[in-house]
Structure formats: C-alpha cells, structure tokens
C-alpha cells in the first residue's frame, strides 16, 4: 500500500502554484469554491487509495489553525 507523500513532489512547483491561482482568476467566491470542490474530487479519484485519502484529510485538518 502506498503512503501519503508529504515531502516535495511537484516539479516546477512555482509554475503549478501560478496555474492554480490563474484558474481562479476573475471568478466570484462561489465560482472559486465550486472549482476547488471539483478539483478536490478529481484529485481524490486519481489517488483512489482510501488510506492515502484518509491520511490526506487528517494532514489537512491538523495543519490549519486550531478551530
């Protein structure tokens, strides 16, 4: 079983980040939220492995400020 990759793994990270922001350019908050949701679902399906997805949800939850 594969594990969640949390070390740097994107080649050309700055370009990816710029593309991500560009995709949101000119969108309303609602449109951006919808785009993000679609993107999360597409990426989740690509990963597929439930253990990796669960680990990603945990990693995302624990990295934010305490609610």
């Amino acid at each position: 079983m594969s594990r969640l990759t949390l070390s740097p793994n994107i080649q050309g990270a700055d370009d990816f980040y710029a593309n991500l922001l560009a995709a949101h350019e000119g969108l309303t908050k609602a449109q951006s939220d919808a785009l993000n949701a679609r993107l999360i679902l597409i990426l989740a399906n690509h990963i597929g492995d439930r253990a990796v997805l669960d680990a990603a949800i945990d990693a995302a939850k624990s990295a934010g400020p305490k609610p």
Partner: protein, 531 residues
C-alpha cells in the same frame, strides 16, 4: 379514488375468544396487519405455528406508500407463496436518469445480473402488496381480526397479557409470544415505555400519486435543484395502473395543511409535467422523516419487527424491504423455539442480526439524505461539484446519491455462522450472506431452499436427509456441469463444495466435502447452541 381503500379487507367479526371468561390462550399474537405483520403470520404458519393478527383498522393502508420492492423481498415472497402476483402486477424498471438544474447529467442502467428468477426491483403500490398477502393468509386460514385494537400490553416471564378493544367491547388474550408490527408510531412500543431514538431530518416532502396518460417512459427520474422546484429535489416513478409517484422536496418552513391543498399541489405538478399534460390527483401526503431504531428489538416475549423497530428515510426503499428481512430472520427462529428444537436465546440473535441490518439501512439512508439535502454551504458546494462532474466524467457518477437501493445484508459477524472452510470459493456466498440465485433444474436454485435447513453438495455427495435431534435437514445434490452459474456463484475456482443453508436462505457454513460431524455441529451452532 380507487375503491380498494373503501372496502374492508378483513372486516370485524366476533371471535370465540370474546365469549370466554378466562383470557384466551394463543401461541403467537401479531399486532398489525401491514406487510410485515401479514408476512410474519404466513411465515410462521408455513413452519407449523398458528398465530392471530390484530389490527385496529380493517382495510389496506391508504395511498401508495411503499412502492419499491427489492429482489430480496420478492425472493422472500416466493418462499411465502405470494411472489407471482407481485411480479405479474408490478412495474419492472432498469433505467434511471439524473437531472441537475435544467439538464440531464447522466443516466444509469441497473443492468441486473443474469440468471436470477426475480428482477432487481419492482414498483408496486403497498395496497396491492397487502392485498396479495391477505389472499395468501386467507388461503392458509390465518385469523386476521380487524377493528381489534390492543389497548394494554402486560409482559410476564411466562406469557404476555393483552387487552383488545373491539366494537363489542374489550376482551383478554394471554399470548406466549407477541410480535409488534404496528408501524413507526408503534402503540405497543409506547405502552411498554420503550425508547426509539435517532435523528430527525428537518425537511418536508410532498408525495403525490397522479394518474395521467403521458408518454413518460418506465424509468426513475431524479432531479436536483430543478427549475420547477428551486433549491429542492424531485422524483418521478411509475407504478401499475398508469399511476405515477411524484416526490417533491419542500423544505422545512412550510405550512403543511396549505401545501396539501389541491390548489397548491396542482400548480407545482403542472410546472413539473408541463401545462399540456392532463393528470388527476389520486393521493397527496406530506411527510417528514427520521432515521432511528429501538435499542433492542427483543423485549422478553415481545418482539418488534419492521417500522416499529426501526425507521429510515424513504431514499433507497429500505423501509418495507428491511421489514420483510426481519420476518425472514425471525420466522424460523421463533418456530424452532416454539417447537422446542432451539433454546429461547436463539431469539437474541434476531436482535443482533437485524440490528446490524437496521444500522446498515440507517447509515445508507442518512447518507442519501445528506446528499439530497445538504446540511451546510460546504456540503452543498461538494454536492453540486459531484453533479457537475457527473455530466462529463464517469468517475463522479457513483458519488451521486439519490438513494442506495436496498440490498439484503450479510450477517458476517453472526454467532450463528459456522466455518468458512472452502478456500477459493466466492466472497458473495460466504457464511452469513444471502444465497445468490441461479438457474437450476427446470427453474431456479432459491425455489429449492427455504423453510428448513438444507445441505447442498456441489459436485460431491451429501445424504438425502439428516435428522439432528428432531431437526430435519434436507440434502440437495447439484451437478454444476449443467448449471454453470451455480458453479460461478458457489464454487468459483474450486471444483466441489458443501454448503449448509439456513431456513431463511442465508449461508451458514461451507466445506470442501461432506463431513457429518461438522454439519451436525454447524446446524447446532445455527440453532443457537452454546458452543
């Protein structure tokens, strides 16, 4: 309005019990003549146990109510002897369409697996289901007492005292066993002061049954956020007799009495169906729903089955269908306890196995409800994202949840299961699972099972019959050379095997060859013997 609602199906008649000074003794009293209570009486009768059914009404239930009957329910109905009229009358559908906003996002075909006697689902009004069951009960001389309301339930260690109110006044019954099949609002449950906890969903749904001469195909159509019902959902489903079921979600803050009035319902339906479709309203109801269950289904000599024990949202057709699985599970167990061939503790496994089933149904129907009615802004954003993606990408379609249609549950962790000693055999027919059907002899495999224990030898010999401390086990030989789907569904990669099957057609153990001592032990385990 259909006259089936007007005619008493089991009119009140004075019974001999009303003339005696002493309480009348009965082995089993079933409270409630709905689908579950009627089926319960039929199941027990087929296993040699007499019961009486008491109901405060004397007619079929009003309106179409439960309309989707799943394959497993049809198989149980076959075992109980009323499957054919259901399937002859019912509407079979396979194609479903999902709409979002003003467009169709995708369609799906249930594509039922080949080689089963019964289809995945039929649509049929509940009143027909009840009518056919009453016919079956009548053929078996089952005593159904209409307008006989149970007004007091007093459980004791040895029996249960019941008070029954009739048009001629009250009388008393002393029952060995009581099965409460009196619905979600179960008066029996209330009289016994028992809990019924769970989650209430803050939503209202309008159900309308309409008759129309329209060209809608026999398909299930589900709308998320359609122009004719903004921000809500809608469902269109076909029933027999040209009746269509329409479900419209209305939201929480509504005036139910106002919304039910034809002058408010008709414009909603016109907006949905189009101005040029002529239709007539047959039945309108507004419902809210809950997902909840009792903590225990067995309370000494009182057992709860169907909606009285557990309630789910209608999405997924898990109400009546799970009630019939309760019957399937309880019938043979209670019969063995009454016949003295199993200890009373066998009834505790009804609790364990059907609570497992109820929890599975509650989980599934809660998830459907959360998808259909998102509870937060974020859940709505994800819901809409799934629907938008589903129009373009197949991966998102399994995430669309407009109801996960009822499937029978497997009793995987049940203490009644024996060993799984047939390495390489299919997972689907593991101990605990309901037997998959397949063509066999000049019909189907399931028709050869049910009501008693069966030991099946696939490509290997088993005795024609076994007698285990008064319990008869039927032997059945299957040569899979003639029945390839039997091999596929029961043997998989192995050449031969032996299955022990419970009276409710669930697998209880399997081996590579017949070993009498092992089979005897497994039958005893399945009958709740302490191991």
């Amino acid at each position: 309005m259909n006259k089936i609602f007007e005619t008493p199906l089991y009119p009140y008649a004075r019974s001999v019990d009303q003339q005696t000074a002493e309480p009348a003794a009965h082995k089993v009293v079933i409270i409630g003549a709905g689908p579950v209570g009627l089926a319960m009486a039929v199941d027990l009768k087929q296993q040699g146990i007499d019961s009486i059914i008491l109901d405060d009404n004397d007619k079929v239930s009003f309106g179409s109510r439960a309309i989707c009957f799943a394959k497993r329910t049809l198989e149980i109905a076959d075992r109980l002897g009323f499957g054919d009229p259901l399937v002859e009358k019912g509407v079979v559908w396979n194609l479903g369409k999902v709409f979002f906003d003003d467009r169709k996002v995708y369609e799906f075909n249930l594509l039922p697996e080949d080689g089963h006697k019964r289809p995945a689902f039929i649509n049929l009004q509940q009143y027909y289901f009840e009518e056919y069951l009453v016919n079956r009960a009548r053929a078996l001389n089952i005593d159904i007492r209409g307008r006989s309301r149970v007004s007091a339930v007093e459980p004791h260690d040895s029996h249960v005292d019941l008070t029954v109110e009739t048009p001629d006044g009250p009388y008393h019954i002393a029952a060995d066993w009581v099965i409460a099949c009196d619905g979600a609002g179960s008066p029996t449950r209330s009289m016994m002061g028992l809990d019924f906890v769970g989650r209430v969903f803050e939503d209202n749904f309008l159900i309308a049954d309409v008759t129309m001469d329209a060209e809608f195909p026999t398909e299930r159509w589900f709308w998320f956020d359609p122009p004719f019902n903004r921000g809500q959902s809608a469902l269109l489903h076909k029933q027999p007799d040209g009746v269509w079921r329409i479900d419209l979600q209305l939201g929480w803050d509504i005036d139910k009495e106002e919304e039910k009035k034809p002058e408010n319902v008709i414009p909603r339906l016109k907006a949905m169906l189009g101005d040029d479709v002529a239709f007539e309203l047959e039945w309108v109801s507004i419902y809210t729903f809950q997902c909840r269950r009792m903590e225990k289904f067995r309370h000494g000599r009182v057992l709860f089955a169907g909606d009285s024990a557990h309630q789910v949202s209608p999405f997924g057709a898990r109400g009546a269908n799970s009630g019939l699985q309760d019957v399937d599970n309880l019938g043979w167990k209670l019969a063995h306890v009454i016949h003295g061939t199993a200890p009373e503790t066998l009834l505790d496994t009804y609790d364990v196995e059907r609570i497992h089933g109820a929890d599975e149904n509650i989980l599934n129907s809660s998830r459907s409800t959360d998808f259909i009615t998102p509870k937060s802004e974020t859940s709505r954003i994800f819901r809409d994202a799934v629907l938008d993606l589903s129009e373009h990408h197949p991966f998102a379609r399994p995430l669309v949840n407009s109801g996960r249609l009822s499937m029978p549950c497997s009793y995987d962790a049940s203490g009644l299961n024996g060993v799984d000693a047939l390495t390489g055999a299919p997972h689907r027919s593991r101990p605990g699972s309901p037997c998959p059907d397949a063509p066999f002899m000049d019909g189907y495999f399931l028709s050869n099972l049910g009501g008693k224990f069966v030991v099946v030898g696939l490509n290997t010999d088993v005795p024609d019959q076994l007698d285990i401390d008064g319990v008869r086990v039927k032997g059945l030989h299957v040569d899979t050379a003639h029945y390839p789907l039997m091999a596929e569904r029961y043997l998989g990669a192995v050449a031969a095997g032996v299955y022990l099957i419970r009276p409710d057609q669930h697998v209880t153990a399997r081996w590579s060859e017949f070993d009498q001592a092992a089979v005897v032990a497994a039958v005893k385990t399945a009958l709740g013997a302490a191991v």
